[in-house]
């Protein structure tokens, strides 16, 4: 009887620990997923930020870069790219901008979240400066042009001729008081 009891305790402890570990594993999937996407460039996640680097410009071909914008249903701002698309040489640094207007009667803060299609191109597109690095506050009725500077690496595979850069603009006014305390962090967290 004592042996059976010990054996049961052993099974319960081992399986209980396994269950707790698996609960932790569920949460571990979050960073694992990020790391996996980062390494492989899957999911358009590795939409990197970087400094100006002297890249050799590849003038043998051009790449079409399209800009699109999305507003979730809860976001009342007007938000659109200034240029819908541009043709560039890989390796060349370019600047463009998005236009945002706050038509509401109150001050609001927005955060843009980028994504790149096809996902394979994500790791070759580097943002040198981007409005998505920071939160964007706008007074009631105000509008602004928000710049972004980017470069497409000359190592971009030859079969990719079009890259679509998409921004979704989210209303984060509600979380602003908390976010203010740590202003520099929010932008980089997103990347």
């Amino acid at each position: 009887m004592r042996d059976a009891k010990q054996a049961n305790t052993r099974v319960v402890v081992r399986l209980g620990v396994t269950a707790v570990l698996m609960f932790g594993f569920g949460f571990a999937l979050v960073p694992l997923y990020e790391v996996f996407c980062d390494i492989t460039g899957l999911n358009g996640k590795n939409f990197g930020r970087g400094d100006v680097a002297a890249l050799e410009v590849d003038r043998s071909r051009t790449v079409k870069v399209q800009f699109v914008s999305t507003n979730p249903e809860t976001m009342p701002w007007e938000f659109k790219p200034v240029e819908r698309s541009m043709r560039i040489f890989p390796g060349e640094t370019h600047q463009t901008a998005y236009f945002a207007a706050n038509p509401t009667s109150h001050w609001m803060v927005a955060q843009a979240v980028p994504s790149v299609t096809p996902a394979e191109a994500a790791q070759y597109l580097t943002k040198i400066n981007c409005f998505c690095f920071d939160r964007q506050p706008l007074d009631a009725g105000a509008s602004q042009e928000m710049p972004m500077v980017f470069v497409v690496s000359p190592e971009l595979p030859a079969h990719i001729s079009t890259i679509t850069v998409s921004y979704a603009l989210y209303d984060i006014t509600a979380s602003e008081p908390v976010a203010l305390q740590d202003k520099t962090k929010t932008g980089s967290q997103l990347l």
């Binding site: 009887m1 054996a7 319960v12 609960f23 569920g26 999911n43 979240v113 996902a119 979704a168 908390v178």
Partner: protein
Amino acid sequence: MATVDIDLPHVKDHDHDPHHHGPAKGIGRWLFTTNHKDIGSMYLIFSLCMFLIGGLMALIIRAELFQPGLQLVEPEFFNQMTTMHGLIMVFGAVMPAFVGLANWMIPMMIGAPDMALPRMNNWSFWILPFAFLILLSSLFMEGGAPNFGWTFYAPLSTTYGPPSTTYFIFGVHIMGISSIMGAINIIATILNLRAPGMTLMKMPLFVWTWLITAFLLIAVMPVLAGVVTMMLMDIHFGTSFFNAAGGGDPVLFQHVFWFFGHPEVYIMILPAFGIVSEIIPTFARKRLFGYPSMVYAVASIALLSFIVWAHHMFTVGMPLVGEVFFMFATMLIAVPTGVKVFNWVATMFRGSMTFETPMLFALAFVVLFTIGGFSGLMLAIAPVDFQYHDTYFVVAHFHYVLVPGAVFGIMAGVYYWLPKWTGHVLNESLGKFHFWMSFVGVNITFFPMHFVGLAGMPRRIPDYALQFADFNSIASVGAFIFGLSQLIFVYNIIHNARVGEKATAQVWDGAHGLEWTVPSPAPYHTFSTPPKVD
């Protein structure tokens, strides 16, 4: 184990005599019981109630879909019905029914006096009704019940979910804890309480499939608990696991959910494999063909279930490598499943078959589950899945594997072991009446869904285009036939519990195994002294 009688005066008489210890009287018997048979019965009755409630919701869905246009319910309520139907059938009907069968049968099949951890057993049952009370109460709350589908994809369930989502999360936590405790108990019982001589490879297949299922439960139910906890934090504590605005990722939700969700699919089918593997040899009067290969097939299905989850999300924009990997990994599952179907057929080959009610359900299981398996193979093909995704073809597929699959497996098991529980021989006419009504009803309901699905009818929508009208009205008629015929099932169980010829210990003349060596009805305590297995 026998620690329950410490407060009895005759502490010395530890090995109490089974014939003098009956169940306690009154409601206390059920509230405080640690007896595996009582707890098994409660699990089964509970799951039958949930099956009827979930079925009622299905009938509301089918009644609305009888004609195009909106007739009976508001679209919001329709969404609540599809969500609650799924949640209740998966977590309230199918899973507890298997746990109930495990409680009743596993100790008797391996020659154990009870489950290894009887008090935990009581607890793991009694928290379950509360989980579902919480879940069902959300129907009466302001904003209604959860309406985002049983898969509760974020951000639909986080940013856009009703306030009752928090109750749903709490309910899922409780039922998860219940499942994990049940699984630990089953593993401890199987590993520690087998009768002398009952080696692992001599265990009945129902015990084997449950052992593997229990490991799956322990591996994935905590992940489900994790994903709902993340939802809770996103909703109430300002985190952004699944909120893109805060740097989270909605697609991550689907990955974590289906990492739980796909093994969950096998949790709902493996014990049914086990039941069918018990029944077919009995009524074919032959030994099960290829016992070791059956065990290995179940184990390989369980292992493969961990590397195929993303076939539920081929259309999220996965890279090609991912689509190809998950496509082939999924198709690989057809191999061990094929082994099982082959073995069942080979068991019947040249057997002296008779067609009693449990055998009819088992045969329907083999045929209809295989149809569901084939449509699953079609869905596994990534390029065509883009057309099938979120259509009624998917609904047809998973209802074929879950209704005539898991549910028929449970019904087969109930009819098979009912005489052992009640001591009365089964009324075959009533049983066959139930079988044929269910068999016809289930096919009329779900077969036309393949066609409307391939033609592009989306799932989870209360209205549809006119060209789908005929098949939908046929499906609705079938649903009412199937739904109402479950009343025969309820009647059969009550009838058998009250009247019927006295059953022998063996009950079915081809039945073998330890559970058929104890009298029918099985006494309150069985195998207090372990039997000897050669």
